[in-house]
Symmetry: C2
Subunit: 308 residues, 2 copies
């Protein structure tokens, strides 16, 4: 199975309003709720692709109960660890007139030392069964900033390859623990290394400890900087749609490709086809399976004649 970790799970709430006008009142016409947090999204895509996946992280309070209830029919196995505080909400306000989204993210529950210890005990037994592990998203309050570094070391000690998808100081610390793969976007990569040029920044991240770096570059696809070479993969044509969850779908593509022992070009094709099919799907965070199958053959992967 593939294990995804979401320390700061969320109840994702989407409100559609005719137009968002600050400092006025709005009647929300359409309310949608879904289980959220990057690792949960990754696991949903893996499950849809036919991979057995297990989700862990923290869940608590009335919002946490709703997250578990909404997750149950979606098939990833729920190994979430209870926490006394309440799982955070994220509120996305979609302005129907422009299609733009305004996002409000709660900080999440404060995790205590016993809760962290209970999580580690559960995690240690899960990684022993995992073909791969993905560590995804922000840290909730109370969890130490080196948490991902600690989880990377424990997974590697158990022999499980680890992908890290986070940002800021948790990413910096995590990279030093030598994860198999990091998947920053261009902004996260620039923030990490101070360099705006993705190839240079990715090389810098490798020097800091990441075995491989796959940078997601939005409409320009992804760039992989690995011990075996440097590749750039792009979709056949630019697409319009909702980019929510596209990065999480790319992570699912990379992880499943790793577990299947695919070559780097094939892993990147899968990542780009999945993220593009996610942008094309009408519902945020879902992917269009027909578009995925079609795109898989049409992603262009180019090896760059440069040193990694």
């Amino acid at each position: 199975m593939i294990l995804t970790v979401t320390l700061n799970t969320a109840l994702d709430i989407t409100y559609t309003v005719p137009a968002l006008v600050p400092h006025t009142g709005h009647r929300v016409g359409d309310v949608r709720e879904r289980p959220g947090g990057k690792g949960l999204n990754v696991a949903r895509v893996l499950t849809a692709l036919g991979y057995e996946s297990v989700v862990t992280g923290f869940v608590g309070g009335p919002t946490g109960a709703v997250v578990r209830e909404l997750l149950a029919p979606l098939a990833p196995h729920d190994a979430l660890v209870p926490v006394a505080g309440a799982t955070r909400r994220t509120v996305a306000v979609v302005d129907a007139s422009s299609g733009d989204t305004t996002q409000l993210n709660e900080p999440g529950p404060t995790v205590g030392p016993e809760e962290w210890a209970a999580f580690l005990a559960s995690y240690d037994s899960l990684v022993r069964e995992a073909a791969a592990v993905a560590l995804c998203g922000s840290l909730p309050p109370g969890v130490h900033v080196g948490a991902y570094a600690e989880l990377i070391r424990r997974a590697r000690a158990a022999g499980a390859p680890v992908l890290l998808d986070t940002s800021g100081e948790p990413l910096r610390r995590g990279i030093a623990a030598r994860p198999d793969l990091v998947k920053p976007n261009a902004e996260e990569l620039a923030q990490l290394t101070g360099g705006r040029e993705p190839l240079r920044a990715a090389r810098d991240a490798r020097r800091r400890g990441a075995h491989a770096v796959v940078a997601s570059l939005g409409a320009e696809g992804v760039m992989a900087v690995t011990a075996k070479g440097v590749w750039h993969a792009i979709p056949p044509a630019p697409v319009k749609g909702n980019p929510t969850g596209a990065g999480d779908s790319a992570v699912a593509g990379l992880l499943s490709g790793l577990v299947d022992g695919l070559s780097w070009p094939d892993r990147l094709s899968r990542a780009v086809a999945l993220s593009t099919a996610t942008v094309l799907a009408p519902a945020a965070g879902e992917f269009d399976p027909t578009a995925y199958e079609d795109l898989l053959e049409r992603v262009t992967v180019t090896e760059q004649a440069v040193a990694a």
Copy 2:
């Protein structure tokens, strides 16, 4: 006891952000939750004033469970009726830079015919024990637009005086059922009668069936148009603060004054002192008891030499 009815209860969530910028992401620093809906607010103020109060209406789902949990320590007796759908959330986004609030209100659960019948059975037994009844706020989906008219007739049949505080068509239909008192604000009154001038509009509302009309006029206090005369009550000086809940506090003042058999001028003094003390309190919807006691002596009530 005093019965307050909130058919569309709410979980009121307040997010404080440094500044609300549409179409961007926000990390919410401060998250607050409180049981909401006008009748619940009225009951909290009544309880703080020492009156026994009972709240009814609908409550359901995970948000409804939170509303009940938050309500429990606040002392109004909980006679809320379970509904299969989930109690709505209201999200107030407070922009810390300006103090302005952007409000997002969910529609609320759809109430089915059996649920409405269960509510009516419970209501009929509650009104028999009630010294006064307040019907407050918007109707949830599924409840017929003449619901307040039906509840007014049933309360009056049981001998309980009724105050109606709603807007739009439910207010229009409710007034035709001859409530003892309606408490529109200037905008609701204008919307009801088409007249912008409050005295004329209030007289019109009386002709349509309301025995008495108390119009809340914001900083200009309240105006009562009754069978016994017309009064205007104003606070000693304009105040600055958060007007959330000020109208609900005025309702609590009017209801408690009715139960105590006070004269109209004394009822209006109580309503204005309570609503002003609510604007002055730091927490939205609370009132400052010291300010209330002080203001009570200093509200100016003037009888208008005009026909009601």
